[in-house]
Symmetry: C2
Subunit: 198 residues, 2 copies
DNA sequence: CCCGCAACTTGACACTGACAAGATTGCCCG
DNA sequence: CGGGCAATCTTGTCAGTGTCAAGTTGCGGG
């Protein structure tokens, strides 16, 4: 008898196994962190054999590197749409909240293949987007070195996002909208000197 | 013959296996991150059997939780010695650089036993030290909510430290002293409004 | 002195990432 | 149109890991 049992029988070719494994991996990482990620578990979820993922990502490191590259691409995209620097910061925080798995992996270099081409180019793109947003505020008009202003803005946004994801701001921020809170912080950092009276 | 070969013969009891494993673990984590940590490897380094670590830490999670608790203790100690808030920030950054393994584990909650007593008390201590340093600047005199000022200061220091450890500031900061750079950032955040003329 | 308990060992099991070799299938080129 | 080829996926295997259970060793207090 030929294997015509289409309802239960899986096709030999998954169709889009790469995407399926990526999204499953993102779920696992968002829930339990990168250390909880198991290639065999992802294969089981996708209904394929335990060695199938290796064909798309070669490695565990390869999978995580692909995730990081995708993350930097997404981040660059949203940063490039930002109006001003404060908006860029808000988008940075929003990105971390909407893509926690990407975010976490992007900034854990020991999990990544540092010389991967897709990764490095995507990261460069995101870096340029960030620098663009910073230079738009003309920090030199505040008497501040542009590069330092960039580091300050990035540190503030990155620290806020990181603390948020690690549930260290649940107390202070409470149920307030994190993006709104961050807007206040950004205002603290880049307020003009009030030379005008009052 | 009695076992008098102190040079080659290992005693059955290690002496201070707990500390030995902790420091070995810190080395591994600082070099290759928490995911590279293997209990069996630590046991080998200490010259004990593969199950010996479990007696002191029960778990891999237990070991990491102990590291995090120790880290929060150290952090609380140094923050309590800070003169003002800027100094506290500098100490925060210095702590991250001098104890990168502790720092990384402390802020990776999915690796920790969240309800561990030692951990929660140490973390609370560190949190109080931080709040103390923030309240000392009387942020309300700047027209800023104290709680938000704390979040801002913490975010800035934490983001800077995190980006530093993940080698994301190697370009911008270069070979400059990171603590000095951070001093500049802190000054940006908490400068007074220059109401006085000039 | 001895006995109890903490520190450590030995052994086992299920799970994992990685590799090698084979099976299946879509599809491109003749 | 059909044959082969390369991409995709499977099966089998190996060393390494965390964790548990059960046994050993040896120190210190009764």
């Amino acid at each position: 008898m030929p294997p015509e049992k289409p309802s239960t029988r899986r096709p030999y070719h998954h169709g889009d196994l790469r995407r399926a494994i990526l999204t499953a991996a993102l779920d696992v990482i968002a829930a339990d962190g990168p250390s909880a990620l198991s290639l065999r578990d992802l294969a089981r979820r996708a209904g394929v054999s335990h060695a199938a993922p290796a064909h798309h990502f070669k490695d565990r490191t390869g999978l995580l590197t692909a995730i990081a590259a995708e993350g930097f691409g997404l981040l660059a995209g949203t940063l490039n749409e930002a109006g001003d620097l404060k908006d860029a910061g808000v988008r940075y925080v929003r990105f971390a909240r909407e893509h926690p798995a990407h975010f976490q992996v992007m900034f854990t270099p020991e999990l990544l293949r540092a010389d991967d081409l897709e990764l490095t180019t995507a990261r460069t793109l995101a870096g340029e987007a960030l620098r663009g947003a910073v230079s738009a505020v003309r920090p030199e008009s505040l008497g501040i070195d542009t590069r330092l202003a960039g580091v300050a803005a990035w540190s503030l946004a990155h620290g806020f996002a990181t603390l948020l994801l690690s549930h260290n701001l649940d107390g202070p921020v409470g149920d307030k909208d994190p993006e709104e809170v961050f807007r206040t912080l950004a205002a603290m950092l880049f307020r003009r000197e009030s030379r005008e009276n009052t």
